[in-house]
Amino acid sequence: MPEDVPAIELDGVVKEYLAHGETVQAVKGVSLTIGEGEFFSLLGPSGCGKTTTMRMIAGFEEPTKGLVKLLGQDVTNVPPNKRDINMVFQSYALFPHMNVWENVAFGLRRKKVADAEIKQRVGDILEIVDLTGREKRRPREMSGGQQQRVALARALVNRPRALLLDEPLGALDLKLRQQMQTELKRIQREVGITFVYVTHDQSEALTMSDRIAVMNDGLVEQLADPREIYERPASKFVAGFIGTSNLLSGTVDAAEGDLLVVRLGEHDRILVPGKAAAGDTVDLTVRPEKITISTEQPESGLSVVRGDVAEITYLGTYNSYAVALADGTEITVFQQNAIDSSTTAERGDTVWLSWRPQHSYTLS
């Protein structure tokens, strides 16, 4: 993905604030590279440092330590108006006293672009975001989705090296949000500009991104593509933050090839890829949809645990089972409501849960 010079490079970036006389580290050392044309997401809960990281890329915050590079050039101390980067703000920040056309032309006018070219470029970008014919509207006369697209056009018309988006869909309702997700992907493909997307919504990040940096407490916990992040979370935090995960903890019995045999209770035998010595305690995770629930003992070669069904929740396209193991650990299992759904487990039944070894991972 990142070829030659990366679009954006962060090198050991730290941001400290002084709050009530105490130094607080909002970002504790982030290093990452974002390739040209990439759709890159910074994902994490509020207060994880993702917005601060983005604001340092934009130039609104200066890092306490570390470097920010744009196409290989050090821009750490360059003010935002001199950076070839544009941003879409969470509140859109459209200028209320200007109409759509004036809003979109603002950046080009500052760069003293010739009038004819401004006309051409503003017209083109308004067509891309599907707002042709609304040039004379004021922001407050438009719907949230339209304002969103004006904000996008206002940034993209400058043809920045990278576009930063700070929770841009946060203010929209669910339907519109899903529509805009697709729309954003389309626009990004069309203009071919690097997108850096800040969000706390994991499904948004998974849907749109080429790569995701999951942040927690001022650090990047994992940086990978969406599939890897979901299927192979690198830490307890990532496993818990992205989707639903079952976290298990057990003692290593033995190593069989490159699989570990982990024991929880008497009837439980978990196979998981990894390296550890017998007697070690390991944490591992498995997604609810990877687990099969059955009332009969499953074939060998699978990870197998036994427990009692504590709760069944009907969720439309699938059922969610909460199964309590002997040691009290509760495991969530999703089962599709397919026609041939074989399980007939009821609340209180003792069931077997099984999954393939490659569907679980040890966690650091």
Partner: protein
Amino acid sequence: MRGKLGDRALYVYTWLIILWLASPIAVMILFGFNDKQSKSNTSWQGFTFKWYQQLFAIDGLTDALVNSLIIAVVSTVLATVLGTLLGLAVGRYRFRGKGVTDFLIFAAISTPELVMGASLLSLFVSANAPRGHITIIIAHTLFSLAFVVVTVRARVVGLDPSLEEAARDLGAGTFTTFRLVTLPSIMPGVAAGAMLAFALSIDDYVVTSFVNGSEQTFPLWIVGAVKVGIPPQVNVMGTLIFGIGVLLAIANAVSARRKTTH
């Protein structure tokens, strides 16, 4: 269900209030047309335009009005510029002495005019400053400043800080950002403050009477004329000042409507 009687009572009550508020203005306008024969202009004696024709016939009154207009314009400009900058500072930033600044703004509004006038006089006397135009302008700027600060601050507090960041992000330097984004956004507050400042200055009597020296202003001249009878020209001048105010208000309303129906 509220009865028709209630509706009618509200209707009558509303018009009584409007009548009550408008009657002093109506009387002022009306008596500018009074063909009075006696010294005092307090009873209706017939219609005439002659006071409009002889508007500037009383030298002292004309001079006082010109003085008042000059003082009002200068102090409004000063108070608006200083008050806008101060309003931005207290609305936006946290700094050492912000608490004291806030208190002083509040104090400038709440201090009784008598106290302010007397203390300003003793200040000017002890500083050996000759009283006149300059001291009146200083005093008027001082008491209208706080009103500008309050109206501007209200706009600044409600201003989305990312608006200015967006301007910076799109390539505008700090001054261009202020000129193209910040100032237009807080303009309603600035304009309201300026109008208040002008209105406070043009009819101030109490503070002015302490610091005027031998200088006459419109309100001072009128109060001085009460004993000998106020000439109808005063009504005419009042009517004209009021008329200009009404025209400004209409122009403002029309331009606001034009903006929204774009």
